[in-house]
């Protein structure tokens, strides 16, 4: 391919609307263009990379025994009503009415369609398990589409669905898919962590998200470099050590005028925040007033609180007053009657608490459970931090931000029960299928790779998904060096290398900048001076290293290098 023919319009300036590196670079290097909010065209360079990502995904899916098919994008609203998602999904679901006034969804996922597809055709446990997948444009009407391909309204997904007769079979497929997903990330050059996740909109009981590590990621993660544990901050559970508060262990009321924050109280006692107790007052969904207590250096975890209290809310100033509580001075001792006391598990062994005294401008030290107050419930309440011990091996957890690129779910019988999709088991009894679902964001993976692999000059493609593996740059516009560059490009192509020949009538500086921006893994720079010595310059985009290579060896050398890096 000649670069003079390639449709890859580059931009001189950073596009104003692009906040993320991937968004900015994919626009600047001529890989994507916005058609409307959250809707992008993938230009030839991006499309070449996307096809390679798709090929890797297909390869891993097929190796794991999954079979590819393609279902319609339009999915009948009737099916979505059966599953209950037509109403539950909300405005993110794009809806279409056809000329006969029949309603359809533009599928964001295809649980309903695939369940409908196999119903009455998969009839016996003998036909199971079956694992089906497709690669398709998906739709989600995001309130605020942004970050380029990260959060678009139309995006390319691999979605897959498995049907099993037993939990063991589901677990086996789920584990295979998890391994395949790890392989996909690795083969695409993505540093990603498999993270235990909330299951969200799709439902189900066990799920893992693969998070590509990137500062721009929307999710906050903790992970253990030592044992490989990783979790969303919101979902992680661990045991943290807590410091005992000051004092000799007797209950002491201390005058702490105006010290209504953990920071101020810790400073007053000359103590780490971890040695104080943080109290939070809320109203549970059923109206019960609750005080939660957590170690002073941790936060109440909203997901866990929701799990315990339903749709709760923190008490307003009026509600605090109505329940006899004093902002900044709440604590477990002398709690007004009728308030439920729920305390974080990590505090179960602590006997000397520094905590609010339920009296303005006073704290207690040496407060002791069972002696000075009664705990109604011990529970896991806190959000895990970087620095907390790994729940598996105890080493300190690291923190990072991540981009969700893929996810595996055990759906169980959520859809099969709702939609009456059953098979006959060994005893001839009709049972609902046990389902799993498995998604890979193909276009999001592209963006995540760019987010991880770039520098101030542009994209740095991993060879496995680079649009072209090598660019041959002619320093002259014609003459011997140009002809030699053309010849080398042809030879590389004949040797099976994906090569683009920068034949444009541009200055070398422009060519270097564009090739760095587009990020092809290797640049072969062909100039008069080198040719005189029988050499060309080979530049590695990732390391920036340059070396002179003999002209008659460079094709074989490069072909060997890229082959080894294709994975």
């Amino acid at each position: 391919m000649k670069m003079s023919n390639l449709y890859a319009p580059t931009l001189k300036e950073d596009p104003a609307e692009a906040e993320l590196a991937s968004h900015r670079l994919l626009l600047r290097a001529g890989l994507i263009r916005k058609q409307a909010a959250g809707l992008y065209s993938y230009l030839p360079l991006a499309w070449r990379s996307l096809k390679k990502i798709e090929a890797i995904v297909r390869d891993e899916m097929d190796a794991a025994g999954a079979q590819e098919l393609l279902m319609p994008i339009l999915t009948d609203a009737e099916l979505w009503r059966e599953s209950g998602r037509w109403n539950a999904y909300g405005p993110e679901l794009m809806r279409v009415t056809d000329r006969h006034d029949r309603e359809f969804a533009l599928g964001p996922t295809h649980e309903e369609t695939v369940t409908d597809l196999i119903t009455n055709e998969l009839r016996s446990y003998k036909q199971l398990p079956v694992n089906l997948y497709q690669i398709q444009d998906k739709f989600r009407d995001e309130m605020r589409p942004r970050f380029g391909l990260m959060r678009g309204r139309e995006f390319i997904m691999k979605d897959g669905y498995s049907f099993s007769a037993t939990q063991e079979s589901l677990q086996e497929i789920y584990d295979d898919m998890k391994q395949a997903y790890a392989n996909i990330c690795e083969r695409c050059g993505l540093r990603a962590l498999p993270v235990v996740a909330d299951s969200g909109q799709i439902g189900g009981d066990t799920s893992v998200e693969f998070m590509a590590l990137a500062d721009a990621g929307e999710a906050a993660l903790v992970y253990c470099d030592d044992c490989g544990f990783a979790a969303d901050e919101e979902a992680a559970t661990t045991s943290v050590e807590v410091t005992e508060g000051p004092g000799d262990g007797t209950l002491q009321k201390v005058h702490t005028p105006g010290l209504g924050t953990i920071e101020a109280v810790a400073a007053f006692f000359g103590f780490p925040e971890n040695g104080t107790r943080k109290s939070l007052a809320l109203i549970a969904e059923d109206g019960t007033p609750v005080v939660c207590i957590v170690p002073g250096d941790h936060e109440l975890n909203e997901c866990k609180a929701e799990h315990l209290f339903g749709a709760y809310h923190m008490m307003s100033d009026e509600e605090l007053e109505a329940h006899g509580l004093h902002k900044g001075f709440i604590g477990p001792v002398n709690l007004p009657e009728g308030i439920r006391l729920v305390v974080d598990e990590n505090l179960r062994t602590s006997k000397k608490w520094a905590c609010g005294a339920n009296e303005v401008d006073y704290h207690f030290t040496g407060a002791c459970p069972d002696r000075d107050f009664t705990v109604d419930e011990w529970a896991d309440l806190i959000t895990v931090h970087a620095g907390d011990p790994c729940p598996h091996c105890g080493k300190p957890l690291a923190g990072a931000r991540g981009i969700e690129v893929s996810q595996v779910f055990q759906l169980g019988t959520k859809y099969s029960e709702a939609m009456g999709a059953t098979f006959a088991d060994e005893n001839g009894e009709e049972k609902p299928f046990l389902m799993g679902c498995y998604g890979v964001g193909i276009s999001r993976t592209l963006a995540a790779v760019v987010e991880q692999h770039n520098d101030e000059n542009g994209i740095i493609w991993p060879t496995s998904i680079a649009p072209f593996e090598v660019s041959v740059i002619a320093l002259d516009k014609k003459g011997e060096a140009f002809d030699e560059a053309a010849r080398l490009a042809d030879e590389l192509a004949a040797a099976g290398v994906e090569v683009v020949f920068d034949d444009r009538a541009e200055r070398p500086g422009v060519k270097f900048a564009d090739n760095d921006l587009m990020g092809f893994p290797y640049q072969l720079i062909v100039g008069k001076r080198g040719i005189k010595n029988g050499t060309v310059e080979l530049k590695c985009r990732a390391t920036g290293e340059r070396e002179d290579v003999a002209i008659d060896e460079v094709v074989a050398k490069l072909a060997e290098t890229v082959r080894s890096e294709r994975r």
Copy 2:
């Protein structure tokens, strides 16, 4: 792939809703399933074939210098308003309103999007030509979706668009695309004709449709086996020979009581229908009453008439009476005043017409133009038939029915002008792009291939797009023959053959029937008796021929055969 794992649910009975062979067989053999009217899932066997068709299309497009990209399915209504198609397209256009009340079309084609995409990025004639394509799900809300994949509401298309600075450049790309399309049909095993066509909804001035020949086709074609000319009956133009009518050349009025049809008049005179003149009365769009005269054995062509008379209609009985015309006895002589006489070109040299006398129960013979009546206009009026001479070589044309599988268009400046898409020419002047558009129905091609390649037992895949090239059929459910079959399947796979191993615990008869139905090009039948003699049976699905082949030669032989047939 083991057939026991393959998701390809076959049907024992012919599905009632399927009229066409392709629809019936794709359902029965477990290749497609209906999700809703005009919406189909492609199951793994169909999907494997579709991917091969896509690969052939990509190969031909890339070889012709086109570049692949992918545009969003959702296309902004604003662009469709600019082009004028938002209102012009009608209810076939599926429309979506997003959560912010912005309107979008589900793209049936992408002229607007691609024109918007390149505007302000392709700026100079130096960057031209550019030829871009994509493979994508398309949408058209058919009033009555039917015939399975032939006329669905969501279907897979390759659509491509070229941008040129000059007509010569457009013509060159158009010609290249035409050749590529012929190659695609040939490589997919499709007998198809390139047919001069009306340009229809998309517009433009020059276009060719590729019509796969099939009795079930919706279009009536004429073609010349000798020189390769082909055209839609509706669009074809040719010179037909006409017979002179009876008599000595003087104008004679003949009493023809009750003989109001061409057939009756020809029989009365003992003359071929071709020797009579057929008269048709209509009202042109501007209100002018018109009588058209054509050779008695031909029909007035509606397209050509529309071209001449605008939105015309045939006269009703009341209108005939109002204009002094008598049904069955209309003719050119003594035509009431104010009626325009338009005559088919083919009659220009004929001097002895047998025609209606404009008097009930009377005809003329020997009516002669210029002597007995005055022709207002000579024009091409007739629909060409099988048997008419080829307009290029004069040999008799053959008739056939066809399925439109692809089409090339010269759009010219229709979209670029409407949307203000211009480039600077050599003199720095802003000019609208000259555009071409090029479409291939990928899923329709699949159906057309099945429509052409089947027999009473099922599908007969051309090797180039077969879901699997070879099926290995074990006659026993276990034991030596089963193991040998498994080994041969593995060896074939290792030799690069796409093989499915029918390992199911079914009777041989069931396996034979299913494999014939699914239509894999070669069946390798492995039984105890053959093994004893060191042979297996090789069956060719297309010819039905069976031969015994030595076990130790069959893998190499089959690998060689399928390789040569892959194209």
